[in-house]
C-alpha cells in the first residue's frame, strides 16, 4: 500500500518534471503575455523614455475598431469571406488528391512529394512575390471570361473575394499539402476487407466512396477543416494581420489598439472553429482521440 503510494507519487513528480519546460514556457511566453495584452487592449499605451504609460480607455479601442476604423472591419470581412470559400476548396481538393494517390498506381511517392512540396518551400514572401509576378494564375481562367461573368452577376462585396480566389487558385491549392497527408493516412486506415466485401456485393466505386470511404474518414475531415482554418488565419498572406502590425507603430493608435485588433481577430477564429466543430463534430462516432489532434 505504502509502496504503491510512493510509486504513484514518484510517477507524478517525474511527469511534472518532464512537462516542466512547457509549464514554464506557457506561463512566461503565453499566459503572461495573454494577460498583458488583454490588459493593454483596454488602454491607450504609450512607450516613453520612462517606461510604458497606460491610460485606461475601457472598451474604446474595440468601439473604435468597429465603428470608426476606416479599414479594419472592411479588411476583416473581405478576409473572412475569402476564407469561407477557401476552406471547402482546400479540403475537397485535398480529399480528391488523396483519393487519387491512394489508388494502386505507380510513382505514388513522386506524386506525394509533388503535392507536399509547397508546404516546404513557401513562405509568405515567396508567395507574395510569385503572385505579384503573375506566376500563380493560369491564363485559361481569364480567357473564358469567368471573371467578367462573376463580376456581372454578383454584388461587389461577394464578387471581389471570389475573383481574388480564382486569381490565386494555385496558391490556395498549395495550402493543402498537410491536409492531403492527413487524408492519405486516414484512407490507409480503412479496412480493405470492407472494400472487397462491398465490391463483391456489386457496389460501384461511386457508391463505395459515399457509403464507405466518406463515413470512415469523417474524423479526418474535421481535423482538416480545423487545420485549414488555423493555417489560413495564421499565415502571413492576409492583410488583417499586416494591418495589426501597422497599427503597432502608429503614434495615434499604438500597442493598445493593435492588441485590441488582435483580440477581435482571435475571437473570430474561435467562433469559426466553434461553428465548424458543432457542425462537423456532433456525429456520435467522432472520437477526438482518433482524430489525432
Amino acid at each position: 500500500m505504502l509502496q504503491k503510494l510512493i510509486r504513484r507519487r514518484r510517477e507524478l513528480i517525474t511527469g511534472y518534471l518532464f512537462v516542466l519546460p512547457w509549464i514554464i514556457g506557457f506561463l512566461l511566453f503565453m499566459a503572461y503575455p495573454i494577460y498583458f495584452s488583454l490588459n493593454m487592449s483596454f488602454h491607450k499605451v504609450l512607450i516613453t523614455s520612462e517606461g510604458i504609460q497606460k491610460d485606461f480607455l475601457g472598451g474604446d479601442n474595440f468601439k473604435y475598431a468597429f465603428l470608426s476604423d476606416p479599414k479594419y472591419v472592411e479588411e476583416l470581412l473581405v478576409f473572412i469571406k475569402s476564407v469561407i470559400f477557401m476552406i471547402p476548396i482546400i479540403v475537397v481538393f485535398a480529399l480528391l488528391v488523396a483519393l487519387l494517390i491512394n489508388q494502386p498506381i505507380r510513382f505514388k511517392g513522386l506524386f506525394r512529394a509533388i503535392f507536399f512540396l509547397p508546404v516546404v518551400i513557401t513562405s509568405g514572401e515567396v508567395v507574395k512575390e510569385l503572385f505579384s509576378q503573375g506566376a500563380t494564375t493560369i491564363s485559361i481562367v481569364e480567357r473564358y471570361g469567368i471573371i467578367q461573368f462573376i463580376e456581372a452577376n454578383l454584388s461587389p462585396s461577394w464578387s471581389e473575394p471570389i475573383i481574388g480566389i480564382i486569381q490565386q487558385l494555385i496558391v490556395i491549392l498549395w495550402y493543402s499539402g498537410v491536409q492531403i497527408l492527413i487524408f492519405l493516412a486516414g484512407l490507409q486506415k480503412v479496412n480493405s476487407q470492407i472494400y472487397e466485401a462491398a465490391s463483391i456485393d456489386g457496389a460501384s466505386p461511386w457508391e463505395i466512396f459515399w457509403k464507405i470511404t466518406l463515413p470512415s474518414i469523417k474524423p479526418f475531415i474535421l481535423v482538416n477543416i480545423i487545420y485549414t482554418t488555423v493555417d489560413l488565419f495564421t499565415n502571413s498572406l492576409n492583410d488583417v494581420i499586416l494591418l495589426i502590425k501597422e497599427h503597432m507603430f502608429k503614434i495615434n493608435t499604438g500597442f493598445g489598439y493593435a492588441t485590441a485588433l488582435a483580440w477581435i481577430y482571435f475571437m473570430i477564429i474561435f467562433v469559426i472553429l466553434l461553428i465548424v466543430v458543432v457542425i462537423f463534430g456532433r456525429n456520435e462516432d467522432y472520437n477526438p482521440k482518433k482524430a489525432g489532434r
Binding site: V97, R112, L173
Partner: protein, 327 residues
Amino acid sequence: MKKDNVSILKVVKAVDKKMIENIGYKIKRIFLGKKGNDGIVFKVFIYALLISIGFVYLYPIFYMVSHSFKSLKDLLDPTVLWLPKSLHVDNYIRAWNVLDFPKAFGASMLNSVLPAISQTVSCALVGYGFARFKFPGKSIMLVFILLTFIIPVQVVMIPLFLLFKQYGLLGSPLPFIIPALFAGGIKSALFILIYMQFFKTVPKALEESAQIDGAGPFKTFFRIIIPISVPAIVVVFLFSLVWHWNETYMASLYLGESMRTLPLMLQSFDLAYSQEYSSSGATDMVNINESIKLAGTMLIILPLLILYLFAQKWFVEVADKTGLTGE
C-alpha cells in the same frame, strides 16, 4: 448431308459467338476492370488527372525557373514562352549580390537551425511526459496546448516584443530560441502532439525492463526511448526548421534591421536593388525586372528545395511514421 452442314454451321457460329463474347468480355475487363477501379480506362483517367493537377501545382515553380533565366530581351519577346534563348545567369549574380546571399543565408541558418534544435529537444521531453505519466492537471494542460495552437501570434506578440526588448534580445535569434527551449514558439503545439502520438505507440515493456535494470525515468528516456524515436525526431526537426526558415512576420519584428533572413531580404528587394546598382556607375545599369526578382525568389527557396530533395521521404511520411492520426 445438308442438315449436317447446317448443324455444323450452327455449332461454328455458336462457338464463334461465344469466343467473340469471351474476347469482348476480356477486353472489357482489361479496359474497365473487374472492380471498376483496376481497368485501363480508369488507370489512364487517374494518371491523366494526377499529372494535370501536378502540372498546375508545379506551374508557379516552372514559371519561376523559366523566367529567372530570361534576359530582358527574352522577357519582352512574346515568342519566347518557356525556354529562354540563352541561359541568362546574370540575373542570379545580381540577385545574389542584392540579397547579400552569404550573410542572409547565415542569418537564416541561425534563425532556423538553433530554434529547431531547441524545439525538437524540449517538445520531445514534454511530449513524453504527457504520453507516459499520469498527474493531476494533465487534461487541462492539454486543452491549453490546443489553445496555443489556435491563438494567433498577434495576440501575444506585443507583450513578447516588449519583454524581449526589455532584456535586449531583439536583433538576435534569441527571441526564437528561448521560447523554443521551453516547448513554445512556432507551432509547438503540433510538435508536442506528434511526439505524444509517437510515444504512445512505443511498447511500455521497453521502459519497464529498463526500470527493472535500475534505470531512472530520465535515463530510460535518453537511453531507450530517444534512440528508437528517430523518425519522430527527424520529422519534428525538419518541420520546425522549415517553418522557422519561412517565418517572416515575427522575424521582421524581432530582428529589425540588424539581422535579415533570406525571406526578409526579399521583402525589401526593390529598394536593395536600387541601392546596389544605381550608384555603381553606368556600365551595369540594368533596371530591375521580373526575371531578376524571380531569380532572387529562386535563390531563397533553393536551400529548401535541396533539403526537400534529400529529406523528402521524412516529410511526406510524417503521418505514417509518427502515428499522428492515431491508432
